[in-house]
Point group: C2
């Protein structure tokens, strides 16, 4: 368990493809202006050096906005870039091993598409789980069956660590998902693919606040 409690409420996953030629750093900055609280850099295609360079630039931004920077999959990149943590899928290094490499200060997230995976992640010392997919999503083709709100809540409530919902979520769904117990909403294309990422983030943020009962 990390000593640092990040605000996971609006969790952006960077996605070059849905950004379609927009400068991804500018997208991240606009999203932070719009209220994103955690940024996960996800890049399955670039070399490690390029990802480290990108993450370092994002870190300067997240620091300014008091947001957290999480790196998908690569613990070495996360450490090299000085990121706050790492997010691990079920094909990645297990959370327990990542913790031993990154130390207690790091935020370690894990993907859970089932109650078993959620409990395993908690046991291994993950700080939060990403639960999904809520709906079918274009960002991760070949993904598991969509869970819907009930499915999300069933998995999320099986553990005592915070859970963030992911997978095809838009501003319309955010309030209900938060009411169902999620600590946050993770989005990729809903912000990276938006014409105005700042406004898109603000809309989801507003829905999240409605869900929490703060408005």
């Amino acid at each position: 368990m990390s000593l640092f409690k990040p605000d996971l409420s609006l969790y952006l996953v960077t996605d070059k493809q849905s950004a379609r030629g927009k400068d991804l750093l500018e997208v991240v900055e606009s999203a932070l202006q719009g209220g994103v609280t955690t940024v996960q850099v996800r890049d399955k295609d670039s070399g490690a050096f390029e990802i480290v360079t990108f993450c370092k630039a994002v870190k300067l931004m997240t620091d300014r906005f008091d947001a957290a920077l999480i790196v998908d999959d690569r613990v070495d990149v996360a450490i090299a870039a000085g990121a706050d943590g790492v997010h691990l899928g079920d094909q990645d290094i297990p959370p327990g091993l990542a913790r031993s490499l990154m130390g207690r200060g790091a935020i370690i997230g894990a993907t859970a598409a089932s109650i078993e995976m959620a409990m395993e992640a908690e046991e291994q010392g993950a700080d939060y789980i990403g639960v999904g997919p809520f709906k079918p999503t274009s960002t991760k083709p070949g993904h598991a069956d969509p869970l819907g709100i009930e499915g999300l809540a069933r998995i999320g409530s099986s553990v005592s660590i915070p859970w963030v919902a992911i997978g095809g979520i838009t501003a319309r769904d955010a309030e209900a998902i938060i009411r169902a117990g999620a600590s946050g909403i993770a989005v990729a294309s809903a912000i990276c693919g938006a014409e105005d990422p700042k406004t898109a983030a603000e809309e989801i943020k507003r829905a999240i606040k409605e869900g929490i009962g703060v408005s």
Copy 2:
């Protein structure tokens, strides 16, 4: 610079594709029986967890044969698997950064396709460089122009750290490359793609010994 001096003389790079369905662990074991002194696990396709698992199995073998285990690209996987070191291409984490993550005990190798890259790698504290390609190679399509023996020697002799030649090398070329100053011969398909990896390794080993003047 690592404190541990590995024997780089016959350096196997694992290559699932040229192994064409053969069990890669069995290929590695046969290759070690045939005289391989260093094994680099190279896998650009599998998830980190699968690579860590494979590397741990290879480490049990390399330990038995007093050989070194090097992991391509992923410093986190190398640490998680307890490997002896990491090999870094020019798209990967820079050697200096890898050293700070892995410590002085680790072997850090870097790829050098030019004198500039070789000198940069040495400056950053790499323990050895892989110089290539010697010939066009099927394992790394889209690679730089082949260097031939003179090109290899020109790059290799520009630094004082050991250099290993790579890229389409067969037993026929090994002796001349060693005479040109290489500390070792790195091969992927010549061993992974051989019907009998042990015999293939033995043949290259023999040529290397001829080159050193030990026979």
